[in-house]
Symmetry: C2
Subunit: 144 residues, 2 copies
Amino acid sequence: MIKVVIITSMESLQQRLERKGLRVSIQRLKILQYLDQHRVHPTVDDIYGALKKEMPSISKTTIYNTLDVLHKAGLVSCLTISPKEVRFDAEPKAHPHFFCLKCNRVLDLEEVICPHIKSHVDGNIVEEVHLYFKGICKKCKGGE
Amino acid sequence: MIKVVIITSMESLQQRLERKGLRVSIQRLKILQYLDQHRVHPTVDDIYGALKKEMPSISKTTIYNTLDVLHKAGLVSCLTISPKEVRFDAEPKAHPHFFCLKCNRVLDLEEVICPHIKSHVDGNIVEEVHLYFKGICKKCKGGE
DNA sequence: TTTCGTGCAAAGCATTTGCAAGTAG
DNA sequence: CTACTTGCAAATGCTTTGCACGAAA
């Protein structure tokens, strides 16, 4: 079997938590790991459904709590794109997304402009930059 | 520098509806008018609360239905920025916003880049462009 | 008469909160 | 011991749905 492993940072997941002064729990590690290995901007429910298989006792509240902690620590980014639910991304660096109105997927786009846009908001303190498009993705455009 | 530019069309509200082939009802006119005159990206509840004063029988369902119709017709734009609720804008042209994490207001930023960004999403069909920032606004930055 | 618009009541569902039990420091 | 973490159950609140009545074409 071929397993695709995405190596983003040289830092271990545990080190990422410790560096931010966060306690390392199995739940936090698993959630961070899941996000790191599933770069499809999963929802809370996606994460919950997947982790429940190996950790049947995990609760949705913990997913919410943990994602909140990770987001505040700057370890994950939080996407308010699909109107129904929040989605998460292990890549905390700002980059553009594409939301398909047909299949509801959130795709990553090549990072091009995000870092350069900030200059237009002087006067306000910018903590996050969000750029995304809505429309029909390549895949859905093809087949009906 | 932040410049707020309100582009109000010469077209009457009724004409806007008719041009899109929509029936003209008092509810649709009032909702469109409210958005046109209150450029603060109100939520459904804001609109409901305001219109209920002069139209006590109006229902939230109608606000939802109408905004959906107006959005699909391209008469208003729909902002998925604040994670809790959707906000609406009578200006359907894409322009950047700033969401203040402290006072929860959504501010308009000067339109600068939005029209030029589209080139980066080749392959996907773009229907909407969304660019916004999150942080602390000028006003909140000042006084605690 | 047939289709569309309105609005009430109820349902749906993502997210939050309160709290009790467990765990790390 | 004290502060943090987990997770269950219940509550919250935005949004949608089903449906009946009324209005427009």
